[in-house]
């Protein structure tokens, strides 16, 4: 038990207020402060390291491989590793499933196409070094940063190989490599997940560990292409709570969750993009 009955009651009471009073004085649509660096793994195509104020930390690496499109069902593969959990545990499997389905549904796969026969396949490896609250948001944000900074080597051989096969050949200069955004020629924004806590009639963005203990329900909503998307599902965010507050979900919660996400997530994305722009790390080991 994380909270005593008195603490729990106090916290619950302040959160069901309208507007809710969050222990760290956040607004309902505010995430906790975070810091991040990108492209710090030298041999990855893209990487990000993200840290929350509560000490949660996540590292994501994106690596690429050239594959024959016809032989490869999935051009994206996500792997999640959470410290202290077995790889085959329910917790990890759920995270992995959620992230995979998010990316498979919302990704500009044409950016990975090399020729009519060949594509890049991306391997996204996430390690959660430590976490207190449900880690889906930080993993997803770290993936956002890593994918955003992922660069893929430039193809120099023929693109048209429908009739006459050519083995793909690449420029040996890493500086020639292109980001996925440059490859699609548009503003590429990978999808993200946002976790929402449901309490009373309010919805809380990115609930903290203590908040999770008293939530009545939880929601994860995906955001891509400027609006809320599927997958969207409810979930118990508190891992070791005995769920004495747990309640069902009203349809109004879902409607307002979507409208909140539509309204505020763009700002989160913008904040992350600014973070990348400001991160002057030259991608070097030193």
């Amino acid at each position: 038990m994380l909270l005593s009955p008195a603490e729990r009651q106090y916290l619950y009471d302040s959160l069901v207020q309208n507007p809710p009073i969050r222990p760290d004085a956040r607004n309902v649509f505010q995430c906790r402060p975070l810091e991040a660096t990108t492209t710090f793994l030298p041999s990855s195509n893209g990487s990000a390291r993200l840290r929350m104020t509560d000490g949660a930390e996540c590292i994501v690496s994106v690596k690429s491989k050239v594959v024959k499109t016809a032989d490869t069902p999935n051009l994206l593969e996500v792997d999640v590793d959470v410290q202290g959990y077995r790889d085959d545990s329910n917790f990890v499997a759920t995270l992995k499933y959620n992230l995979s389905s998010l990316l498979h549904k919302n990704f500009p796969f044409e950016a990975l196409k090399l020729t009519s026969r060949y594509s890049y396949k991306l391997f996204i490896d996430c390690i959660v070094m430590s976490n207190t609250s449900y880690p889906l948001t930080i993993i997803s944000m770290a993936i956002y940063l890593a994918l955003k900074t992922t660069k893929l080597p430039k193809l120099v051989s023929e693109v048209d190989d429908v009739n006459v096969e050519e083995q793909p050949t690449f420029s040996d200069d890493w500086e020639d490599a292109k980001t996925l955004g440059e490859a699609t020629g548009s503003d590429f924004q990978p999808p993200v997940f946002i976790t929402l806590g449901v309490i009373g009639s309010s919805l809380l963005f990115d609930p903290s560990l203590e908040e999770e203990q008293v939530l009545e329900n939880g929601l994860i909503v995906s955001f891509y292409d400027g609006k809320a998307q599927t997958p969207l599902q409810n979930i118990n965010l508190a891992l070791n709570s005995n769920k004495n507050n747990y309640k069902g979900l009203k349809s109004t919660h879902i409607v307002s969750a979507i409208s909140m996400v539509n309204k505020y997530c763009g700002m989160i994305i913008h904040a992350l993009d600014t973070l990348i722009d400001q991160d002057e790390g030259d991608g070097q080991v030193f």
Partner: protein
């Protein structure tokens, strides 16, 4: 990349490089740490700063500071030279020339680039540096803090490397000439790239193109000729031909992978230089490549990529002889103009793969013995890419017709060089001295073959001397067969024992030398050697004695070469690269220096020598009871020639112990031989002849066929016996890397034609190939009662159908594939001639390791290194054989000059415009063209019967077929175009 150096300690910084590795279609980001130091010396004796930086290298040696403080003057100023990569690649001959290029700095960048582009040139550059004679130094600029450059954004790797090289020049200039050297030493950057020179000049570097630099040298007149034609173009010959451009690498790699293109070594037919074959693993039979268009600039033995031609272009192999004739008549009926159809319109891979399936079908049908013309069609192909050129130095002569007589000017003119190797095309070179070089054997190198040029272009390297002078011809054939014949370098000779020929086996065997203690003292045994007359490098000696239990002790003693040739010395490297001694008619090119070969290692009589001994106990039927391997000391009692040994054994009055032991050996050897033959060992034949030299004038006198005595086979049997025992032992100790020798069974397709000929011409005679026993028996049955020689003839022809034996490390094949087909043994190696074969040296070391005499060198325990050694010695071995044969051929040609006669010969091949005749007496083989036989128009070639019907010069009808015995007149004639003297055969 922004500056990202990090200082680790004083003098050592680390930086990192990021690049994309694109291999086999993958794209991997690679990050490497790269360490830089500030204590790399400049190798100049003029420098006062670097002295304290000199450190021992890991081997404990102090590097030699070579660059002279008084280098050669260029227009009155002393100078060092820095060369660019393309200079090394295109003008390595000039760098090796003793008239120019002293005090040269090779930036590491250049060395690496050369290594990637051409390994042979890299090796030559390395040996140039190693030899220290011309003061070439390698400056490791990539590891020097002051000269390392990082790739700029958007800069190509080539530009970056050029910049790195220029950086070296300016660094040296600054280093040497800033309060350092007393006299100013200029740095000259020699570079053929205009753009790079321009940049260099902008950076204040003194730079010259190779041509300009050579012009400034005092000996420019002589050197000018040697500059390759990189800059001088053959513009006037552009657009005389239009070959198809080669496919891009990406296309080739993918095509080979999805089996729409095929990769293999091109093999040009000896009888038709416009027809080549490419053996491809996907098909049972080689693919045909016919005509210049389809050969598409490929040379014999290039590694090429071919594409199948459409089915309507498939054909049966040509049975016409085509030799490259005079300069202009290049018209060849086979040269269909199908380039146009193939290059227009893209054929999808899918169709190509279907075509490949058709080809497989056609081959299967053709080899099923169906003689229907339709089914004799073979898939044909055209060359679409050359993966590796086989270009090397070529020997040839200037075609007289390509030099105009009224040309007196000093301007350089293009002319043709006809190469000695008849399967290669003419090479166009440019020279001012064409007239002077007429009638000389010259060495040229090939530079390029543009798609727009009808002929490859090359440049003159040097002249060997007059055609048909012995020196020129010998050197020519050594060069042609890539035999290293230069004297041993000083660093190699330094590895020899200091005592020189005074070296002796120590008298006191207990002198504290642990290894000496392990040697067995066998000086009491009655050892003798049996070799060809006048043999100076005695590899092997033998002894035998009866044992009290009725068995015999037999010992084979082999010269202990590895006592003197230790692994990883310059001497060992030299031996490994030469691989074998080469025996020519009048000359021997040694693998090891003379002191070892003919003195310290040679098991000369009456003197103590180190040996490696194999001692068996065998019963009276020559079955092994036990075997022992040991290093030993022996004293040979006598060195016999085969004949002398034979005489002594046959002489009933001789009954001393030595003769008795020789008789034991002879008896046992006969039993060994019988056993071998019972197992199916082959007795093949080759027309071996020996040229007798007049000892006074060294002129070849007469030719005879080699005689074989019983004592020849005595030695041979025991050597085989020793080799087999040693092979088992080293395989037992080193199952992955034991140096072994195998002989694969011949594929049935090799014998197809011979068997066809036998069944048609000789009443269904047949050579069966199930196993070597069956082959041996069927060869014995090929007898023509009317012609004694026929059996030998079939053996000679069979030998040509066999596979070549090869060395291999044991880990490369399964045990069942170790088999030596010819000898009919399951495992075999070479142990008995370490003086003249490098394989034996490796085997000696492995055996010494196996018996715990000394530790085995890493290079003989590592599979990759063994593969490298094996590849080289296989190649050297083949070359040595070819060189030996070519030498005999040349001398036979010379002998024929004074020995024109009429001899018996046999037809061994029949074409629709000529026949090939073998004359056993001289071991020569010659082509007789139809126009020399008789009327060309009325001749009919019966392909199924291997017969040619024609009207001879006297208008008589004649029919000649394969295996026919014919009388031929032998004349010696000189071919004016290739300058080769050949025995010309004229049918009587």
């Amino acid at each position: 990349m922004p500056s990202d150096k990090k200082r680790l300690s004083s003098g050592l910084t680390v930086t990192s490089k990021v690049f994309v590795m694109s291999r086999n279609g993958s794209a991997t980001k690679v990050v490497r740490e790269h360490y830089l130091r500030d204590d790399i010396v400049c190798y100049s004796t003029a420098c006062n700063k670097c002295a304290e930086l000199i450190k021992e290298n890991p081997d404990g040696q102090i590097p030699n500071i070579q660059l002279s403080d008084v280098p050669a003057k260029l227009q009155n100023e002393r100078h060092y030279i820095v060369v660019d990569t393309n200079i090394v690649l295109s003008a390595i001959d000039l760098l090796e020339n003793t008239e120019c290029f002293y005090d040269v700095i090779i930036p590491q960048t250049v060395l690496d680039e050369v290594k990637n582009k051409s390994f042979p040139i890299y090796q030559r550059l390395r040996s140039l540096v190693k030899a220290e004679e011309k003061r070439f130094v390698v400056f490791h600029n990539e590891f020097h803090e002051g000269t390392y450059v990082t790739r700029k954004h958007g800069e190509s790797m080539n530009d970056r490397n050029d910049r790195a090289i220029r950086k070296v020049v300016s660094w040296y200039d600054n280093h040497i000439n800033h309060d350092n050297s007393i006299e100013k030493i200029n740095l000259v950057f020699v570079c053929n790239d205009k753009d790079c020179r321009k940049k260099a000049e902008a950076e204040g570097i003194y730079t010259k193109s190779l041509v300009d630099y050579v012009e400034m040298l005092p000996k420019a007149d002589y050197l000018r000729e040697l500059v390759s034609n990189d800059n001088q173009t053959f513009t006037e010959f552009q657009n005389e031909a239009k070959y198809q451009e080669y496919y891009s690498e990406a296309r080739i790699m993918a095509g080979v992978k999805n089996k729409s293109l095929f990769k293999g070594i091109l093999n040009i037919s000896r009888y038709n230089f416009l027809q080549g074959t490419v053996q491809v693993p996907d098909f049972k039979k080689p693919l045909l490549v016919v005509g210049t268009k389809n050969l598409n600039r490929a040379f014999n033995s290039d590694l090429v990529v071919v594409e199948l031609l459409p089915q309507d272009k498939w054909r049966s192999p040509s049975s016409t002889i085509v030799e490259e004739g005079s300069i202009d008549d290049y018209d060849n009926p086979d040269d269909d103009d199908d380039g146009a159809t193939a290059s227009n319109g893209i054929i999808p891979d899918k169709e190509r793969i279907l075509l490949a399936q058709e080809a497989t079908k056609a081959i299967t049908l053709a080899s099923s013995g169906n003689t229907d013309v339709e089914h004799k069609l073979q898939p044909t192909a055209k060359v679409v890419g050359v993966i590796r050129r086989s270009w090397r130095y070529y020997v040839g002569q200037i075609a007289p017709t390509s030099v105009s007589a009224d040309d007196n000017g000093n301007a350089s003119r293009a002319c043709f060089v006809v190469l000695m190797d008849t399967v290669l095309p003419k090479i166009r070179i440019r020279t001012r001295r064409a007239k002077e070089l007429l009638g000389k054997r010259i060495v040229i190198s090939v530079d390029s073959w543009e798609a727009t040029s009808k002929y490859p272009s090359g440049h003159f390297v040097r002249s060997l001397g007059d055609i048909e002078s012995t020196e020129a011809e010998t050197e020519a054939l050594l060069l042609e067969h890539d035999v290293e014949y230069r004297p041993f370098a000083t660093n190699v000779l330094n590895c020899l024992p200091k005592e020189g020929d005074k070296w002796k086996v120590p008298e006191n065997l207990d002198n504290g030398d642990e290894q000496l203690k392990k040697r067995k003292d066998l000086r009491g045994e009655l050892v003798c050697s049996i070799d060809p007359p006048n043999c100076v490098d005695i590899d092997d000696a033998l002894h035998a004695k009866p044992l009290p239990n009725g068995n015999f002790q037999v010992g084979v003693h082999i010269a202990d070469v590895t006592h003197f040739v230790k692994a990883n010395t310059a001497l060992d490297d030299e031996g490994a690269s030469r691989g074998t001694s080469v025996y020519l008619v009048d000359r021997r090119i040694d693998m090891l220096p003379l002191l070892l070969g003919t003195n310290l290692c040679s098991l000369n009589p009456y003197i103590d020598r180190y040996a490696f001994s194999v001692i068996w106990e065998v019963d009276k039927d020559a079955n092994i009871v036990s075997v022992e391997f040991t290093k030993s000391i022996i004293r040979s009692r006598e060195a016999f020639s085969y004949e002398a040994a034979q005489k002594r054994i046959d002489d009933k009055s001789q009954n001393d112990e030595l003769t008795k032991s020789m008789r034991i050996l002879l008896n046992l050897s006969k039993k060994l031989k019988q056993k071998r033959l019972n197992n199916g060992a082959l007795n093949l034949a080759s027309p071996e002849v020996k040229v007798h030299m007049d000892s006074e004038t060294s002129d070849p006198g007469e030719v005879e066929i080699k005689q074989l005595l019983e004592t020849n086979s005595l030695v041979e049997e025991f050597m085989l016996f020793a080799n087999i025992s040693v092979a088992r032992k080293i395989y037992d100790s080193y199952p992955q890397t034991a140096m072994l020798r195998r002989h694969a069974p011949p594929p049935a397709s090799n014998f197809e034609q011979l068997n066809d000929m036998l069944s048609v011409r000789k009443n269904g005679m047949h050579i069966s190939l199930e196993n070597s026993k069956a082959l041996a028996d069927s060869l014995d049955n090929c007898i023509d009662p009317k012609d004694e020689y026929f059996n030998t003839l079939v053996r000679i022809m069979s030998t040509r159908c066999m596979m070549a034996a090869e060395y291999f490390p044991s880990g490369f094949f399964g045990y069942s594939d170790f088999k030596h087909y010819g000898l009919a043994v399951d495992i075999y190696t070479h142990f008995t001639s370490p003086i003249r074969r490098y394989c034996d040296i490796v085997v000696h070391r492995q055996l010494a390791g196996a018996i715990g005499y000394e530790d085995l060198a890493q290079s003989h325990r590592d599979k990759n290194k063994m593969e490298f050694i094996v590849k080289n010695i296989n190649k050297r071995h083949r070359n040595a054989q070819f060189a030996g044969r070519a030498s005999i051929e040349y001398y036979v040609g010379q002998v024929m000059k004074s020995n024109e006669s009429i001899q018996e010969g046999y037809v061994i091949k029949c074409f629709n415009n000529g026949i090939v005749v073998l004359v056993p007496k001289f071991g020569i083989e010659g082509l007789i063209r139809l126009e020399d036989l008789g009327d060309t128009d009325s001749a009919i070639y019966d392909e199924d019967k291997f017969e040619l019907h024609f009207n001879d010069l006297h208008k008589n009808k004649r029919t000649i077929g394969v295996f026919d015995k014919v009388k031929v007149e032998i004349k010696s004639i000189k071919d004016e175009i290739s300058g080769k003297r050949k025995a010309q055969l004229i049918l009587q």
